[in-house]
């Protein structure tokens, strides 16, 4: 940019360092002026950035919470209460962390549904999609183990139920579960290792996010039209999308902190303010809301092994979605049938979420079974068949074409 003769001392030091470790250039290529992004990205594209922001919030608040948390069955519950009552701003850190998990999942679920709607999982972004699913799985493991740490009734019985799923595995199930527990029930060794893993996994997620962004940069960002984008339809990520993402984060934070400050326990279960009691199961066990659809699928099937397979399968099946979807049109905007099918699928996920929170009997159980059946019907049958039979709308040749007058 500047001639060597005009360089300031600061610029010389900067260049000297960049030649040896081009970290600023690296960031500039990743999320800066050197990353060209489609110019038509809508607000749904904010949620990747928001999810990354929430990962940072969770990590920072978590590190400071860990300084006051004790991972022992005799002290864990009281140490959390001490954080709430005695530690300076401990209530803020804990409420930010507990509700932060919920808002992290909100951001990620919107991010995933955005990918589903605009076909971001299709070629050439299959590996990007896979890494995203791995991030989701790592998040679920982290969230589950984090929920065990306060050592309330829901912590204990949630841990018992989830780890007991592995007993469904034929022959070796019990041995695996004993290994996970480090004993013959959820107890001190389980709590201690869950804390260790809960601290570890976020850094695994950071690594996966790095690969996610790397894989994103090979083909570049998808866009609401789902078409391949030429250079003239791209604008630099910075400042255009950094500003837009910052705005999106600001709006997201309004909702997040409204809950943190005014309804910090709205998303939690009161039973978790009762200390864990290995001799008494609470009358109504439910997981956190972000696990409810999967929980509903588990309970929809009246067979232990098949229920567990269906539950894990509901996520694992997403790994082959790029091939289950036989249409080569990415954006559902141009797919008149699939668009509505996908909206019904989202409603089905909402239905499963509701069913997961109800007692598994009567209407909720029936609805849960219908919902679970539709979930797999949609992915395994309707998605490939509609892809074959549907006539898509004509695609625009470029992002600019529909808005530019033909004369230009």
């Amino acid at each position: 940019m500047t001639n060597a003769t005009e360089k300031t001392t600061l610029r010389k030091i900067f260049d000297w360092h960049e030649q040896r470790l081009p970290i600023v250039s690296f960031i500039d290529h990743a999320v800066g002026t050197q990353y060209p992004a489609p110019r038509n990205l809508n607000y749904f594209w904010n949620f990747g950035f928001i999810a990354g922001f929430m990962l940072a919030v969770m990590t920072v608040t978590g590190i400071f919470l860990a300084m006051n948390y004790v991972a022992h069955t005799s002290m864990a519950f009281d140490s959390v209460e001490r954080i709430m009552r005695d530690v300076n701003y401990g209530w803020l850190l804990r409420y930010m962390h507990a509700n932060g998990a919920s808002f992290f999942f909100i951001a990620v679920y919107i991010h995933i549904f955005r990918g589903l709607y605009y076909g971001s999982y299709k070629a050439p972004r299959e590996v990007l999609w896979w890494i995203g699913l791995l991030i989701l799985l790592a998040m679920m493991a982290t969230a589950f183990m984090g929920y065990v740490l306060p050592w309330g009734q829901m912590s204990f019985w949630g841990a018992t139920v989830i780890t007991s799923m592995f007993t469904a595995i034929p022959w070796v199930g019990n041995a695996i579960t004993t290994l996970l527990w480090g004993g013959f029930a959820v107890d001190y060794p389980t709590l201690n290792r869950f804390f260790a893993l809960h601290y570890l996994l976020p850094f695994v997620i950071f690594g996966l996010v790095f690969m996610h962004i790397w894989a994103l940069h090979i083909p570049g960002s998808n866009n609401p039209l789902g078409i391949d984008v030429s250079t003239k339809d791209k604008i630099p990520f910075h400042p255009y999308y950094t500003v837009k993402d910052a705005f999106g984060v600001g709006v997201f934070l309004l909702f997040y902190f409204a809950v943190v400050f005014w309804a910090p326990n709205a998303l939690g279960e009161v039973d978790n303010y009762v200390k864990a009691n290995p001799l008494q199961t609470p009358p109504h066990i439910v997981p956190e809301w972000y696990f409810l659809p999967f929980y509903a699928i588990l309970r929809a099937i009246p067979n232990k092994l098949l229920g567990v397979i269906a539950m894990f399968g509901s996520i694992l099946i997403m790994f082959v979605l790029p091939w289950l979807d036989t249409s080569r049109i990415r954006s559902a905007t141009f797919r008149p049938v699939y668009k509505w099918l996908l909206i019904v699928f989202m409603l089905d996920c909402a239905l499963l979420t509701w069913c997961g929170a109800q007692l598994p009997e009567g209407a909720p159980l029936i609805l849960g079974r219908i919902g679970a059946a539709w979930y797999f019907l949609h992915l395994l049958v309707l998605t490939p068949v509609v892809g074959w039979l549907e006539t898509p709308k004509p695609l625009p040749a470029s992002i600019g074409e529909p808005v530019l007058r033909p004369a230009e």
């Binding site: 400071f64 300084m67 701003y89």
Partner: protein, 188 residues
């Protein structure tokens, strides 16, 4: 919209740093910085002593059972506090020291409570690097000045707990304390 926006909107309104866009940028950055700092403080403050830690900040103990020439060590805020019942000779030695000789000049009278000159109460932490000086047990070395001797780096304190030799820069600290009655001391 998209087809009219130039790649870099110009500073139409005036020189650099004076446009509406610059103002918005400054406001955005300022808001982010203020918000960030407001969030950093709770994080840092959470590492300061918590309410339950602060509530342990006073300790009461009885000095009735301490024979002349003996002392006890009690725990106050996680640190040792020395209470030594000084002999008449020790008090006299402490009082007649020439203040000009001291590294950290302080009168013995200012380091004890009036009418309780025989009871010396000190924070038992060497002012050099935090070790506990020896001298509370009869078998401990007390250094040349008859008070305390720090085993870590050899600082020597006199019978008023003042630094006399070695690397420590200051006298042993006198904690805030009072006599609740003739035989009970409250530290903190």
């Amino acid at each position: 919209m998209a087809n009219t926006a130039p790649a870099h909107p110009t500073h139409a309104g005036g020189a650099a740093g004076e446009t509406r866009r610059d103002f918005l940028l400054d406001m955005t950055v300022a808001t982010g910085v203020v918000g960030g700092v407001m969030m950093v403080w709770p994080l840092i403050h959470s590492m300061n002593p918590a309410a339950d830690t602060l509530s342990l900040s006073t300790t009461e103990f009885s000095v009735a059972g301490i024979a002349e020439g003996m002392g006890i060590t009690v725990l106050w805020r996680g640190k040792p506090v020395f209470a030594r019942h000084r002999t008449a000779a020790e008090i006299e030695a402490a009082q007649k020291v020439n203040l000009a000789e001291l590294r950290d000049p302080a009168k013995d009278a200012d380091r004890v409570k009036k009418d309780h000159e025989n009871m010396l109460v000190l924070v038992g932490v060497c002012t050099h690097l935090g070790c506990i000086p020896l001298g509370m047990k009869p078998t401990d070395p007390r250094g040349e000045f008859g008070g305390w001797f720090c085993p870590c780096h050899g600082s020597e304190y006199d019978t008023s707990g003042r630094i006399r030799r070695g690397p420590a820069p200051a006298n042993l600290e006198v904690p805030p304390y009072s006599f609740v009655n003739d035989t009970t001391v409250r530290v903190g």
